[in-house]
């Protein structure tokens, strides 16, 4: 019985490497991890974007049009759709000149209810300390 808390910390920007995409696909797969576990066991992810990683959340990406692949924007929405907490580092957003209205904050258009959060780095550190395992991408 019980839950293992995992923090997926994304520090790399999108498209330059596969890292951010892998963070998104791996974190979303937490939904089906239970098929490998005993009854009552689960893994609970928090998806956190820090540093250049916050660029993954920029709205209106054209990945499908330009590269023929799904965007990190759409993956973040899928994460919110399955009620996975999604956090962005407030200080890094500011550093990159990003405002809340420029990043994915919800997945209402696909039926999601959970909203992403802008949090301080201090809150992120607390969350990382509360996790059983950290996965840096």
């Amino acid at each position: 019985m019980g839950a293992t808390k995992l923090c997926f910390v994304v520090q790399r920007p999108p498209y330059k490497s596969e890292n951010a995409r892998l963070a998104l696909t791996h974190s979303i797969s937490s939904q089906t991890a239970e098929i490998h576990l005993e009854d009552g066991q689960s893994v609970v992810p928090t998806l956190i974007f820090v540093g250049d990683g916050v660029l993954n959340a920029v709205k209106n990406q054209n990945a499908m049009k330009l590269y023929g692949v799904t965007s990190t924007e759409s993956h973040i929405k899928n994460g919110l759709l399955i009620d996975m907490p999604v956090w962005y580092c407030k200080e890094d957003m500011k550093r990159l000149g990003l405002t809340e209205d420029q990043v994915v904050m919800d997945a209402e258009d696909i039926g999601g209810e959970l909203k992403a959060k802008l949090v301080s780095f201090e809150e992120i550190v607390k969350e990382m300390e509360a996790c059983n395992h950290l996965l840096f991408f």
């Binding site: 596969e18 696909t25 991890a33 395992h133 950290l134």
Partner: protein
């Protein structure tokens, strides 16, 4: 005995990080620990059997086969492998293929998870 889960994402050629990941697994096994090994991203290059050894490139297939023989569970991300053209019939004997939830499930019973990132 503890359970260690290693998630390895770097490519076989380009850095020594994947070599390090396998050496780490060997060291943990030598100390009597159980090791689960997840290969994803460019690390799925290991899911192609019959790799030829050249002195200019890392060659860790032999080391991986020895680890499999010692009971290390080595599983490759099926989607990452298929995307690169590594199919089931290419997979070295003993290596498993699974979706990403396998890796996350293994973290549940692990004392330590070492996530060794890609490039």
């Amino acid at each position: 005995m503890a359970v260690l889960t290693i998630g390895a994402f770097p490519s076989l050629v380009g850095s020594m990080t994947l070599d390090f990941s396998f050496k780490l697994a060997e060291a943990a096994i030598a100390k009597g620990h159980k090791v689960n090994f997840w290969l994803s991203g460019n690390a799925v290059m290991m899911a192609k059997k019959g790799q030829k050894a050249f002195k200019d490139y890392s060659h860790i297939e032999k080391r991986m086969m020895e680890l499999l023989g010692k009971g290390v569970e080595i599983t490759v991300c099926e989607a990452c492998a298929e995307a690169r053209g590594y199919h089931k019939e290419d997979t070295p004997a003993g290596m498993k293929r699974a979706s990403m939830d396998w890796y996350l499930a293994k973290t549940f019973n692990s004392e330590r998870v070492l996530h060794i990132g890609g490039e």
